[in-house]
Subunit: 328 residues, 2 copies
């Protein structure tokens, strides 16, 4: 199966390296970063292109854009892993539409397009009879979409609760463990590379809310948007609040929750018993699904990372390979 | 898709009720308990048969055996949910072979046949070009087989660690929480219906070891048997041992672990940090998979229960329906 890979940051590099290293029946025939592109229907020399990127800051031919690759390369699946723009979703939405218009499958790790345009993009994919998959958009390496779709097939999902932002979870873990203030823990998170220079999206709960929107629309198809999420961040939490919770055998976590029967769609710091499965440490992510037959199922794993996110993307690629075998 | 359901204990009843209640495109055309059978290629009246069973102790025609149903009914998938016999695997092995010989798919919750004869049965299924699925044999409602097969597709599984026996986990949870002796906690587990009159299989670690064998053969196809498992139970644990662990922020859990690179295949009580994702409470089950790309993924859920186990069986049925659509 032939792959066009758009985006060569941490995730794109992870995908390129894993596809090259593992014998999965996948060949990269198109590649683009923000400054250049390369294509070869017989398969690109990925180690050489990655080495170019490292040396020069771009991987391929500077006369080729990402859109050139998407529109002209020979491939079966677009893997779109450019950085998320949560406000406009661009340029990723344009990339995905261009591939769907060519009747190519799409796999993306990009939250913007799925949170903003999931219905339109899904309709386009449906009309083109191709797959649009986005396992990597929520909770990194945790195969949550596969679990909803296959592992728990036949179950009605009644509610979901998640720890979906590793930065917040790290800060809360450190505040509880060491009695740090929010500011101290944030500074530590920055030093560890777990928080960005501008941490607003993470600490205000917006990143978790975007993921909650993606999950809710995937499960219930209810067309909710970021505006529908009742969102509170962790930036006003005090060490005293955490200490009080800990005194009761509890702690505080930023929980994203969707409970349609109660019309709840919320991200907020919640007091939660320490032995609850959702109470994970450090930058881990966790999700609990409440279902009619299986009851509560919790999944825990890494929410970010180059190779960890590549795991989710490769899971989607192999799903498409398996499902559309002989056609793709 | 037409189902022959063999076994009408707690799990079989759960499956029958869920298939009847939910609109999943599944019809039960054959049914048998240990004393009787029923078949109708147009679909059986399940509520009437379940009510018979409740009233008379058997569901159908006493002149029909399970093997009659398997050999004569019109169906696409055998659902085999008779009680596990871990020593001989019978009569379930015979049932499964009879269905595979007729080129019928098989879904089972029965640990005996899969632990004892997985290679032979898988070969038979392969020759007949049908599916043999057994999600329900390990960790009840947790979709571990689906996760290994699909969610983590492309990953190499390096090791697995599991809390696979709810009875032991309940006993250990209660010993730690209340300082009970092993005997006191076992008595409580019996009163709660979590332990059988003869708890040997559970407390000696044999049930967990059987599940470990099933998982190891599924993941690595290495043909291990129960004899290869280094197995220690929880029946010699003292409250002092638990107290010492708790003093260090740890607790004790019966952990089943398989680490091929270290040639480890073991079930034993292990001291483990209390905030480790595998430390679950009560009768819950949990599994951590160590993989090359996703790194550690943990799944937590209910290890037993009528409807919970039905969830796993229905997941397998829908997988077959989806995969073999148009053929079955």
């Amino acid at each position: 199966m032939k792959i066009a890979l758009i985006g060569l940051g941490s995730v794109g590099r992870g995908v390129a390296e894993m596809i090259t290293k593992k014998d999965l029946g996948l060949t990269i025939t198109g590649l683009a970063d923000s400054k250049s592109g390369a294509m070869d229907s017989g398969g690109l020399d990925i180690p050489a292109l990655l080495s170019n990127k490292k040396k020069n800051g771009y991987c391929g031919d500077r006369n080729l854009t990402a859109l050139d690759i998407i529109e002209k390369a020979e491939y079966d699946v677009l893997v779109e892993v450019t950085p998320t723009n949560a406000l406009s979703g661009e340029p990723a939405i344009g990339y995905i539409k261009a591939a769907l218009a060519r009747k190519k499958h799409v796999v993306t790790s990009n939250k913007g397009p799925i949170a903003l345009k999931s219905k339109e993009l899904r309709n386009m994919a449906h009309m083109s009879n191709v797959a649009l998959r986005y396992e990597a958009t929520v909770a990194g390496a945790i195969p949550i979409m596969h679990t909803l779709e296959q592992g728990l097939a036949g179950n009605e999902i009644l509610a979901l609760y998640g720890v979906l932002n590793g930065t917040c979870n790290y800060i809360l873990t450190r505040m509880a463990a060491e009695g740090l203030t929010y500011e101290q823990a944030l500074m530590e998170a920055r030093e560890m590379g777990y928080a960005e220079a501008d941490p607003t999206y993470d600490v205000k709960g917006i990143d978790a809310a975007i993921k909650l929107v993606i999950l809710a629309n995937t499960i219930w198809g209810n067309g909710v948007t970021l505006n529908d999420v009742d969102c509170t961040g962790i930036d006003l939490l005090t060490p005293d609040a955490l200490r009080l919770a800990e005194d009761d055998g509890c702690t505080i976590r930023l929980i994203a929750e969707a409970i349609p029967r109660k019309r709840i769609l919320r991200v907020s710091p919640r007091i939660i018993e320490k032995n609850h499965p959702l109470v994970v440490e450090g930058t881990l992510n966790a999700l609990t699904l409440e279902t009619d037959m299986a009851k509560e199922i919790t999944l825990i794993g890494r929410g970010a990372g180059s190779v960890e996110t590549a795991s989710a993307i490769i899971g989607d690629l192999l799903f498409i390979k398996d499902r559309y075998d002989g056609r793709a």
